[in-house]
Amino acid sequence: MCSYKKTEKSLLQRKIHDKFMVALLMISTIVVMTPLIIIVGYVVYNGIGAINADFFTQELGSPTRAIQGRPTGLVHTMVGTAVVDLLALIISAPVGIGAGIMLSEYPDHKLNPFLRIMNDTLNGMPAILKGLLAFAVIVKPMGSFSGLAGGVALAFVMIPIIARSTESALMNIPWSIREAGLAIGLPRWRVVLSTVIPAARTGLVTGFLIAFARAAGEAAPLLFTSFGNNYLPNHWTGMIFGPVDTLPQRLYSLAISPYKEWHSMGWAAGIVLLSFVIILFVISRLLTKQKH
């Protein structure tokens, strides 16, 4: 009898305990979510007024345009961002994926410890230094700020992230799959290419998108690489080989400008950047979910 009563009591205790823990988790979730909501809300509140047709179709030009209420916008910034981000993707994809494959599929290779240290160092390096690095290897020799230099700087941000996510996506594929490939007489590279990589494709794409979202929001590496430009270059070569505008860097320079008209455009640039990054994360979330 006694023990029966005791169980009942402990059941009640456990229920209270459970409720308490759930409440605690709810509170922490709210604490985590609040800053995010405040940031998004504040950016939208301040920037929404500056979003209109001109914003997506006009160049920025000189500050007087905004002050005198003439048409002004950030079309050159969005085009420039697309060019620089695309360059970053093209440069970082083969290098990052290659390094990830190397680390995961050839763990015994002599060069791997070296590769791993390089990658970890690059990963931990402050973004501004990556900009400096790109400045030294591209801007200096070529004699000009350029979209290419910006792409290289962002690639330095993406490469270590892609390498790591590729490695872990491939490591998730059981070894038995590789052995099965070898056992039917496939060479090692063929096994990796045709059996391991397809099996890991969701993980690979997800990692890639996360790396892209990270890089797309970086301003520091772009300040002295792609530099910024108030106008759209006349020709696409001008965007690759000459200075070009990008969203994070433009946001920064609008924000530190002395004109309140530009401030609200800066907030609007923030909305575009935020939407872009959120879309990337949502896609990667959906892909990860699909896997299960």
Partner: protein
């Protein structure tokens, strides 16, 4: 060791009467070795300091089935994997001794393991389909991914291999669905079909029927009987009846060592070694 060698030699001279009568005639006129397809010589496999298999020397006869039996952990899988250089992926595993295929050491310096594995196919203990590849692509992967494009030929090979593996009727209407969506037993038969599709000369099978229902198991046994008309087969099995039904010679392993190797008939009726006898009569293992 000397004793084991003697036994192995004895086994070489042994021929099962019923379906090998022509071999006996051949044996008298030709070298005995012509009937040995593969042979291990003092084959050892080390996991670090631990021997998975130690000093095993046995022949694998042409067009015969060799069964490997022994309690769990005795080294059957380890031995089998050494026969097609499957241990190579792991640097911590050391293989020593020789494995001869048609008299040539497959661990030789100039030997390409890819070629070896095309000649010596393998079915693993666990089913290993390529998960998102279609059933069709799974079966013909060994051909398609090495450059065979001829669609009609691939279709033929696929149907034949799946039929041999007793899977064709179950999957013929959904050859384009992913291999990973099949049941465990179906996946195992798919793995068998995939190994058959490349038409290896020697087939290594690691407990191929352990995840199959009795009917499918029987079909795989029939398949083995059929395949041995053309190929040599080495099969690991925990099922003593199966070993006695399908094999011509049997090797009994215990704690990484070869205890006894002889004709299946001899091993199951009158084994020389006490441990073998205890094992096959179910006293341990």
């Amino acid at each position: 060791m000397v004793k084991e060698k003697n036994r192995a030699e004895k086994a070489i001279s042994y021929k099962k009467p019923e379906n090998n009568s022509h071999n006996i005639l051949k044996l008298n006129s030709m070298s005995q070795l012509s009937d040995v397809r593969m042979e291990t010589k003092k084959l050892s496999v080390q996991y670090g300091d631990h021997y998975g298999v130690k000093d095993v020397s046995i022949p694998v006869y042409n067009k015969q089935v060799t069964a490997l039996i022994g309690p769990s952990g005795c080294g059957k899988t380890t031995f089998l994997r050494a026969l097609n250089r499957m241990h190579e992926l792991n640097r911590n595993i050391k293989v020593s001794g020789e494995v001869l295929l048609d008299g040539e050491n497959i661990y030789g310096d100039k030997v390409n393991p890819v070629i070896i594995r095309r000649k010596i196919g393998m079915v693993f203990q666990k089913p290993t389909p390529f998960p998102i590849m279609s059933i069709f692509d799974n079966v013909v992967a060994g051909l398609k991914l090495t450059g065979t494009r001829d669609k009609r030929y691939l279709n033929e090979v696929c149907e034949k291999a799946l039929s041999q593996a007793a899977l064709f009727n179950e999957v013929k209407d959904r050859l384009n669905t992913p291999g990973g969506k099949l049941s465990g037993g179906q996946q195992q038969r798919l793995s068998i079909a995939r190994a058959l599709a490349i038409e290896p000369e020697v087939i290594l099978m690691d407990e191929p029927t352990s995840s199959l229902d009795p009917l499918s198991s029987m079909k795989i046994e029939e398949l083995i009987n059929e395949l041995k008309e053309k190929y040599s087969i080495v099969i690991v099995t925990h099922n003593m009846q199966q070993a006695s039904r399908v094999s011509d010679t049997t090797a009994f392993f215990y704690m990484g060592e070869l205890i006894e190797y002889d004709s299946t008939n001899k091993i199951f009726t009158n084994p020389e070694n006490r441990k073998t006898e205890n094992y096959i009569t179910g006293k341990f293992g």
